[in-house]
């Protein structure tokens, strides 16, 4: 019996390399990042925004896009030389849940965005949402979702 189990183990060990199959993760680009290399970002806030204002939210999104997106260059207010103008409108609201022992606050955030080429033609648009336990985090989370939309394409 022991010998047979050892044979089984050896057979499995030898067969394992033959059983390798590919598993691929990929993300397609929403726009052609070879054509649209430089993006100019503008964020407009509505509702609750905690310590953020339009300018600081724009800076946050620009930093995230610079780090993770497929754009080569991300700028703020440099619309003249940009290949794409990305306008993001964010609304953060407050929900109060009193069904439990203590009131729970939740802050849903919605963002709609439009990417325009220099002639004003829309080349991409979308809507994302997220929520958090504070308005500042909700704002950051929904802007992260915008960054995720423009994530650098990959095939791994």
């Amino acid at each position: 019996m022991k010998r047979s189990w050892c044979v089984v183990l050896l057979v499995l060990a030898v067969l394992l390399p033959q059983g390798c199959v590919p598993l691929t993760f990929s993300r397609e680009a929403p726009i052609d990042f070879d054509v649209y290399r430089h993006v100019s970002v503008q964020v407009t806030l509505h509702g609750l925004a905690s310590y953020y204002d339009d300018q600081s939210a724009t800076v946050y999104l620009a930093a995230e896009l610079q780090q993770d997106s497929g754009f080569d260059t991300v700028s703020i207010g440099d619309a003249a030389s940009a290949d794409v103008l990305l306008n993001v409108s964010v609304t953060v609201t407050e929900l109060l849940d009193t069904s439990g022992d203590s009131p729970d606050y939740e802050y849903p955030a919605d963002a709609s965005f439009r990417a325009l080429d220099p002639s004003g033609t829309e080349i991409d648009s979308g809507y994302v949402s997220d929520s958090s336990e504070s308005p500042g985090e909700a704002l950051e989370d929904v802007l992260d979702e915008v960054t995720l939309h423009y994530l650098r394409p990959y095939r791994l």
Partner: protein, 247 residues
Amino acid sequence: MLEILGSLGWMRTSVHDRCGAIAALLGRWLCVGALVLLRVGSASADEPETPKVAEPSVPSEDPSGPPPKLSAADASWEDRSAESAVDEEASAAPGWSPDVGLGAQVFGVSGKAMVGLSLRIGDELFWGEFEFTPIWLTKSSSDFDGNFVGNQWAFYFSLAPLRTRYVEGLVGVGLDVYHLWGIHSDEAFMALAFKGGIYGRPTKFLSVFMTVRSYALHSGGLELGTTRDRERTIPAVGTLGVEWRFE
């Protein structure tokens, strides 16, 4: 035996990038497992299973000895016997004590190293299974600078229609979640998966298992059985592993 497996792994490395190397590593683990099994098996064979029973003391019937001393009757003996009866009843009451299996497994994927943990909890026919597997790239890509891309989570509900002393067969349905937080904190893919597995149990507590899973539904961007060059192969992935059973 280790050298034979090592040389096999080296041959595979030259053919199939690093997948063969990982497989060879697992081969060594399996081989070590086989040696452990041999030792466990021989140790258990050496030990005779003769339970030791204490011999009851026989009262001396020597009429020449002193008469037994009498003590006052304990009034609470009846209460104590009633309590112990209740305790015995409680301990004998049927309660669900699930079996727990904790294991390590390697996925047979090319271009990536996926070695992780598996945990299953259940009893006889029904099992809940959980998996956690970090994912590294072993084949570099110009699309990504690093090697670590994230991890896989899996949650399965399984049935074990085949159950013998030495072999157990499971089929299950569940969710595979690939959280690629090495790429972006919110990047994730999901798949509805069907899985089958065979567990060989050379000892009561140790199992060697092999599973195969395929995805019925999955997120766009998750391609099982498709290479980076979009060449399609078998859309099913296997795992090999070892498990320790706690009963």
